[in-house]
């Protein structure tokens, strides 16, 4: 399932609005294939918004609107005849708070394949086992796949969500702060898992934890906030892409002073 070309995503002049309010301004970025790219930045900088635009999840918000181009594998994602359902099948997502369905572990993972028409029990068994193994969860749950997904611990639930996501064989996995609700041990497990998964999938992760970005990612995009005063003493705020570089270079030798100040923890 490798992509043709080196880029998974290419964003050109992307602006994202909620209603009339500008949320993210002029993002230009190319996200490479089969690498882990991290989005970091202070709260409200729009990194989650940009992430969710990559798989058209923003469509679920009625007032959201995108200008510019988002290319995935040579195709523009926001063209008229593009079906979000197809997009999301190829670009999966793991969310901040683990959200397994209130079904059994087996049914959680089999949900996606069943939607696509996979009916045979033996095939589904294979899929479930292979996804659980790839998510480092198999040994812990193989005894009882009928157990409810909600009965697992937080870290296990998140791994279950990852297993569920890879069951439909996407090309990309988007992760929106996947570890922020987990304890350090569970976080470590997920980070190890990510380094394994990147052999098969492109990963884009939003994280507010800079050390995590340094640990796992190959490339890092730093988003920041811009403000302007308008009439009535109020101000408009929107997010921009401030700097984008290979992770090692961004953290050791940031090009802009703003990035350096953020890395040093001077604002967040």
């Amino acid at each position: 399932m490798t992509q043709n070309g080196a880029y998974a995503f290419e964003l050109k002049n992307v602006n994202i609005y909620y209603g009339s309010k500008l949320a993210v301004n002029d993002v230009n970025i190319t996200i490479p294939n089969q690498k882990i790219t991290a989005f970091i930045g202070p709260s409200g900088c729009g990194k989650s918004t940009v992430l969710r635009s990559l798989n058209r999840m923003n469509d679920l918000i009625a007032s959201a609107r995108l200008e510019g181009e988002v290319h995935f594998g040579g195709q523009s994602l926001y063209e008229q005849n593009v079906d979000p359902v197809e997009v999301r099948r190829r670009i999966g997502m793991v969310f901040q708070k683990p959200n397994p369905f209130p079904k059994s572990i087996y049914d959680n993972i089999a949900y996606g394949p069943r939607l696509l028409g996979v009916r045979s029990k033996s095939v589904l068994d294979d899929i479930v086992e292979s996804c659980l193994k790839d998510s480092y969860l198999w040994d812990e749950v193989k005894g009882d796949l009928k157990k409810s997904g909600l009965a697992l611990s937080g870290g296990q639930q998140q791994r279950l969500c990852i297993a569920r996501t890879i069951a439909v064989e996407p090309e990309v996995i988007l992760m929106d702060e996947p570890c922020s609700a987990l304890d350090p041990i569970a976080t470590q497990a997920i980070e190890e898992l990510m380094r394994d998964l990147v052999k098969q999938f492109t990963i884009v992760i939003v994280t507010h934890n800079m050390q995590q970005a340094q640990r796992v990612s190959d490339f890092t995009a730093f988003y920041s906030i811009r403000k302007e005063e308008i009439a009535g003493g109020k101000e408009n705020r929107w997010g921009i892409l401030a700097e984008y570089a290979p992770t090692g270079r961004l953290f050791s030798n940031p090009a802009s002073e703003e990035t350096e100040r953020y890395i040093r923890g001077e604002f967040g």
């Binding site: 997502m93 969310f95 959200n99 949900y111 696509l116 909600l150």
Partner: protein, 330 residues
């Protein structure tokens, strides 16, 4: 004990503050008879509901007991005899029960699919403004007195059914007409409760489903509805309970006179035939001349007791389902 305490703001009131402070030098409990009296009244108010339930149980039970102790009928006959004809000494309740079940069945045929369908539309498809307009309109449907529905059943639904299925098939009083209108009356209740249950399903479950590439209908049918199932089932059971207890619609449109359960002339299960339900029977008999010490009078309470137990069990099941299976989402 009286310490000087003055701020610029309180200078004018300082003497008052000091005076009341001196009076309140004690911190020990003082008798407050007013508070106790009020508390007593409030406890009485709470207790009144318990008295009501006890009253219902006592009244229904004691009169029903009188009914069964006259020797005219025993429990077995009560539940198995095919006819309810007090003149000839037959007191089988099953004809009345089966008519109740028939009307309830028709009601649920309408109320469950349409109620759930409306709930799904309101919870998942309707834009906010449409929802805000439609919900009050459904409330109106729910607030119309049942006697008005009874009029509607008799003057609109029955002629409609007779026009569609023929005057010979559909009698003027029939259970289908009453049942269908009952369904319309109960539809808003089921819709409202189901919609609450569906809206309570957290957004992140829907997002997970969409993220896996599911369509909207797949998300609704495979994730949201199963997650809300306990609330939806509870809504259905409440609807059934209301249908069983409903009186005026069946009294006006379903027919007077119990049907015959089995045997040569059995007619309890004809959709377009007339039959009297438990509630319709109580209302007809008590609306006429009723002497207080007759077996007719006591029999009303026996029927009432059956009805009460029936609906109580349904309501308990509904509450049990809601509490026990309240979906744990995280």
């Amino acid at each position: 004990m009286a310490t000087q305490y003055e701020t610029s703001a309180s200078k004018s009131g300082a003497n008052t503050i000091r005076a009341t402070r001196d009076a309140r030098t004690t911190i020990y409990k003082r008798p407050r008879p007013g508070e106790s009296a009020i508390q007593g009244f409030l406890i009485f108010c709470g207790l009144l509901s318990v008295f009501t339930t006890l009253g219902i149980v006592y009244v229904l039970g004691s009169e029903a007991l009188l009914f069964f102790s006259t020797g005219a009928v025993d429990l077995v006959e009560f539940f198995t005899a095919p006819r309810w004809q007090p003149q000839s000494g037959e007191f089988g309740i099953m004809p009345l029960v089966s008519a109740t079940l028939m009307t309830t069945l028709f009601a649920m045929l309408v109320a469950i699919p349409l109620g759930l369908g409306a709930a799904i539309y309101l919870a998942e498809y309707a834009p906010e403004r449409t929802r805000a307009t439609l919900k009050p309109i459904l409330e109106i449907l729910a607030g119309i007195p049942t006697v008005v529905y009874g009029y509607f059943a008799l003057t609109f639904m029955t002629p409609l059914l007779r026009a569609i299925f023929g005057q010979n098939t559909v009698s003027i009083y029939n259970v289908a007409s009453a049942g269908l209108v009952m369904g319309i009356m109960i539809l808003p209740t089921i819709a409202s409760m189901s919609e609450d249950a569906l809206s309570a399903v957290p957004r992140n479950l829907r997002e997970a489903s969409y993220g896996l590439g599911a369509t909207k209908i797949e998300t609704i049918l495979k994730v949201v509805l199963p997650a809300a199932l306990s609330g939806v089932i509870a809504a259905f059971i409440v609807g059934i309970s209301r249908a069983v207890g409903e009186t005026m619609i069946v009294a006006l449109a379903a027919g007077a006179g119990p049907c015959i359960l089995y045997g040569a002339n059995s007619n309890c299960f004809q959709s377009f035939g007339a039959a009297e339900t438990m509630t319709g029977h109580i209302v007809r008999i008590s609306g006429g001349d009723l002497s207080y010490n007759s077996i007719d009078y006591n029999s009303l309470f026996a029927i009432g007791l059956t009805l009460f137990v029936f609906t109580l069990i349904l309501n308990l099941i509904s509450r049990y389902i809601t509490n026990r299976f309240r979906e744990v989402y995280q």
